[in-house]
């Protein structure tokens, strides 16, 4: 082998090592704080695992408990309904907003910024804000409704499941709709204008152009926006912790809230891990569905 060939091989090996070193810190972090805990969740779910003292192998005991855990299935059902209604509400508002802010123009870009602003505020801040608005005596909603004559005597929103539920839905729409709006707007803008114009020439009216041309062509964006919103709602915690504390009478208990309670209030770590497994399977299925819906763009472009 010639000298230059050997030299090139040597420098190639060095570049391989350099590449490995570059990704090493990231790999180390993800391994220690994500992949290992992920494996441990599976492992722990088969154990009776108290905070203090030794863990004991308990086979499927946690899963048997879980199947009979009325609170957990109640929480799953509540989370499920919350997710569906939040998704419908968010899309119902996000779509008109996306159409509204889709066109260029300075005023439109200001509207876009305003609609998006609540997204960058944290869920914890938004929840605290709503906790105040929902207060009977010092808040906004009930005193304002009294003032306007919509109701004639004070109602405690926090005392009824419906009051808590719908107030939180309003909060979530306000807080997250800008995000879906931007995604949908990107989708609308990515539809080639020639196609829309051609449909226009062929006599398609505004509604037909939207329903028959734009909507099918932005299927991928629609799927993405929907799945991100669903995954977010399935993991709801902050708002139910800060606003209602899962009340009244545990009627607004979410899945993550119950896992939190079992793991870090009752310190049944093994059982918490088993509950986490259910959540994990559901969310990974949602992601798998997303990958399937978003597969090969070339196929979708037809």
């Amino acid at each position: 082998m010639s000298r230059t060939g050997r030299k090139r091989r040597g420098s190639q090996a060095r570049r391989q090592i350099a590449g490995l070193l570059f990704v090493l810190p990231a790999m180390a972090l993800v391994t220690v704080f994500f992949l290992i805990p992920l494996g441990m969740t599976v492992w722990m779910s088969f154990h009776d695992w108290p905070l203090m003292g030794a863990a004991e192998w308990s086979e499927l005991h946690n899963y048997e408990l879980l199947l009979k855990d009325r609170r957990f299935w109640g929480a799953m059902e509540f989370t499920f309904w919350y997710t569906i209604i939040a998704a419908v509400a968010i899309f119902g508002v996000a779509f008109p907003l996306a159409l509204f802010v889709e066109r260029p123009g300075r005023a439109t870009s200001i509207y876009r910024t305003a609609f998006f602003l609540p997204v960058v505020v944290g869920f914890s801040s938004a929840s605290l804000l709503w906790a105040w608005f929902m207060n009977v005596d010092s808040g906004l909603f009930i005193p304002a409704a009294l003032e306007l004559g919509i109701i004639d005597k004070p109602v405690n929103l926090l005392a009824s499941t419906d009051g808590v539920f719908w107030s939180i839905i309003v909060m979530v729409v306000w807080k997250t709709v800008g995000f879906s709006m931007i995604l949908l707007m990107t989708g609308l803008q990515s539809v080639p204008s020639e196609i829309v114009e051609a449909a226009h020439m062929d006599g398609a009216n505004r509604f037909q152009r939207f329903w028959r041309i734009k909507l099918p062509l932005m299927r991928r964006t629609l799927a993405l926006a929907l799945i991100l919103s669903v995954a977010g709602s399935m993991l709801a915690f902050d708002q139910f912790y800060s606003i209602s504390n899962c009340g009244p009478r545990n009627s607004t208990l979410t899945a993550v809230y119950w896992i939190f309670t079992q793991s870090f209030v009752s310190f049944k770590l093994g059982y918490g891990a088993a509950l986490s497994m259910v959540l994990l399977v559901i969310l990974v299925s949602i992601s798998a569905l997303q990958l399937w819906l978003l597969r090969t763009p070339s196929e979708d472009a037809k």
């Binding site: 391989q16 090592i17 590449g19 490995l20 570059f22 990704v23 810190p25 990231a26 790999m27 972090l29 993800v30 704080f33 994500f34 805990p37 992920l38 441990m40 969740t41 722990m44 907003l97 509204f100 066109r103 005023a107 200001i110 509207y111 910024t113 305003a114 609609f115 602003l117 609540p118 960058v120 944290g122 914890s124 801040s125 605290l128 804000l129 906790a131 105040w132 608005f133 010092s138 808040g139 906004l140 304002a144 003032e147 931007i182 995604l183 114009e197 964006t221 993405l224 915690f237 902050d238 800060s242 993550v256 896992i259 939190f260 793991s263 986490s276 959540l279 994990l280 969310l283 990974v284």
Partner: protein, 281 residues
């Protein structure tokens, strides 16, 4: 497409736009304006939202009376957020460069492993994380929280940075290498300025995530003096001796919101780029 809009339609459109914009900003403005009222007035319903008499900072002073004092908790939040931003940027720039420009064994697998963690909710690995942090002596420490936040930022940040490096032409780097510059010199002197927009995007997302994060902070910080702002304000909202000081809640929420709103208004372009990166892909 030609858009012929009558002046009347344009007026109606802007009326709707302004009304909607006010609706979206109102809750934020309500908290900010009410927080400037005297403490006694802050207990009344916020109608109107602005202080009718004097403007005071009483509610901010009241907030300081909780926990270990306002600045101590704001300090915790600032330390956690800045450390998360710095570590996220450094680690994801290195990894993004590695994945974009180098060939090494199991490269594809490593990349997929990192990116796929975005599909798994971190809420489902909290219990083992708690044990791992305890083993490492990092439970109940800001450092432990930072490491978790940085890990959670990895899939998005590395994806962003790899794309940023991918879009830089190879010739630029090769020219520098021919002149004998080392790998690190090429990265820092030549490449970094070219991927700066990507870095800004990654930094904004890391900051907002760390500044606003609630669940992990609630679980992993057990000493009151280590609380970050979200945990402190939730404690304020739970009240003392059965009463809640809503004025302190308003000032707390305002303090938490201001950095997010300012950052977004200043760097909106970079933020939206990050947001749509996933949608366009």
């Amino acid at each position: 497409m030609s858009r012929r809009t009558s002046p009347f339609a344009a007026l109606a459109r802007h009326m709707i736009g302004i009304m909607l914009a006010i609706t979206f900003i109102a809750p934020l403005a309500w908290a900010f304006l009410s927080s400037l009222k005297p403490a006694a007035e802050a207990r009344q319903p916020p109608l109107p939202p602005w202080p009718t008499g004097t403007v005071t900072i009483e509610n901010y002073v009241a907030l300081d009376g909780y926990g270990a004092g306002f600045w101590s908790h704001a300090g915790n939040s600032i330390i956690v957020s800045l450390a998360t931003v710095i570590l996220t940027v450094v680690i994801s720039v290195l990894a993004g460069y590695g994945f974009s420009r180098f060939k090494f064994p199991f490269k594809g697998l490593c990349f997929i492993l990192i990116i796929s963690t975005i599909m798994i909710p971190f809420q489902s690995i909290l219990t083992p994380l708690f044990l791992i942090l305890s083993k490492m002596g990092l439970q109940n420490s800001l450092a432990g929280l930072v490491l978790i936040y940085v890990t959670l930022q990895m899939p998005f940040s590395i994806f962003m940075m790899r794309n940023a490096f991918d879009s830089v032409p190879l010739e630029i780097e090769e020219a520098a290498r021919v002149e004998g510059a080392s790998v690190m010199t090429v990265l820092v002197r030549v490449m970094l300025p070219l991927v700066a927009p990507g870095i800004v995007t990654v930094a904004i997302f890391a900051f907002l995530a760390a500044w606003n994060e609630f669940l992990a902070a609630l679980i992993f910080l057990t000493d009151q003096d280590k609380y970050t702002l979200p945990i402190l304000i939730v404690a304020v909202r739970s009240g003392r001796y059965g009463t809640v000081d809503w004025g302190a809640v308003q000032s707390g929420v305002t303090v938490m919101m201001i950095p997010c709103v300012l950052l977004f208004l200043l760097l909106q372009r970079y933020y939206v780029r990050g947001l749509t990166a996933g949608a366009v892909k």
